[in-house]
């Protein structure tokens, strides 16, 4: 099992915003436990999906070289349930700008045009925000495998195309 809670990026403006989709399926095991007889996609995993959407947005700004860590969930308000068969859309926008120390994002999750959640997250660049602590050369957030996966899924081309549009 891979810890990916978005299926595809459908929009990407470097340093500004990212949009991704996730299809919730009854074939996913977790919905059978949450809850037996009444499968619902957990809100915690939607926060994770938003963190992945925002994390890639923030990570791309420094070419995936920084260790981008979810540091704070400023707010997460949910308005409706998400169930198997639903497709949810994550939209993350950078608040202000991406700084050397990290960035905040404001995000919405929608389903069929309805608001599912609004979420504020803060990310830090691990090596830049802690006082002098060294977390090593190995980027355990954006591993070589992960960056390769992005390339395989043609995200890299999307970034390049979006870059050209700037």
């Amino acid at each position: 099992m891979r810890w990916f809670w978005v299926d595809r990026f459908i929009g990407f403006k470097p340093g500004k915003s990212a949009t991704a989709v996730k299809n919730v399926s009854l074939a996913e095991e977790h919905v059978h436990d949450h809850f037996p007889g009444y499968p619902v996609h957990p809100q915690s995993l939607m926060i994770e999906g938003m963190a992945q959407t925002g994390g890639v947005l923030v990570g791309q700004a420094f070419n995936f070289e920084e260790k981008v860590i979810l540091a704070k969930i400023g707010r997460a308000t949910f308005h409706r349930l998400v169930r198997p068969g639903d497709q949810i859309v994550y939209h993350a926008e950078v608040v202000d700008e991406i700084r050397p120390e990290g960035a905040s994002i404001r995000g919405t999750i929608t389903c069929d045009g309805q608001l599912v959640a609004d979420i504020e997250l803060m990310f830090v660049h691990l090596d830049k925000s802690m006082s002098g602590e060294d977390f090593g050369d190995d980027n355990f957030v954006f591993s070589a495998d992960f960056v390769e996966l992005l390339r395989m899924r043609e995200l890299a081309q999307q970034f390049a195309a979006a870059d050209g549009d700037k």
Binding site: K72, G74, V95, D96, S104, M122, S131
Partner: protein
């Protein structure tokens, strides 16, 4: 356009409410960030981000919260700030009220320096500096 102290306080209050999830009336000038408003270490960076956006200024790291000074062996002995440390602190935090702290400059008491009023004074100096 120059902001009045009241306008600065209102914007700082907004940043505190956003960053710390506290009620507006909890944010008074005397309130300490960690003791009264429950700020944790990561909140300090969040507050800096919000203030930068709110006031359209740049806050160099360590400028508003010079936390690295309190772990610097050059300035700290037996858990207390030395005379050199205090004089460095006065230089680095001209916006803070050090009257009480200098009587017992224990690093444990440092968090009491970080008040909403201290942030307001810092912003006032930054905003007027930018106008000049």
């Amino acid at each position: 356009m120059a902001l009045s102290p009241d306008e600065i306080f209102e914007k700082v209050r907004e940043a505190m409410v956003g960053a710390l999830g506290v009620d507006e009336d909890e944010v008074t000038a005397e309130a300490t960030l960690t003791g009264d408003l429950g700020a944790e270490s990561i909140d300090f960076l969040d507050i800096v981000f919000r203030l930068e956006k709110e006031f359209g200024i740049k806050i160099p790291r360590g400028d508003l919260f010079p936390d690295n000074l309190f772990t610097d062996e050059q300035y700290v002995q037996n858990g207390k700030l030395t005379e050199a440390g205090l004089s460095e602190l006065r230089k680095r935090m001209p916006h803070a009220d050090l009257t009480e702290f200098q009587n017992d400059p224990d690093v444990q008491n440092v968090n009491n320096l970080f008040t909403v009023g201290m942030i307001c004074k810092y912003i006032e100096s930054k905003v007027s500096g930018a106008a000049n």
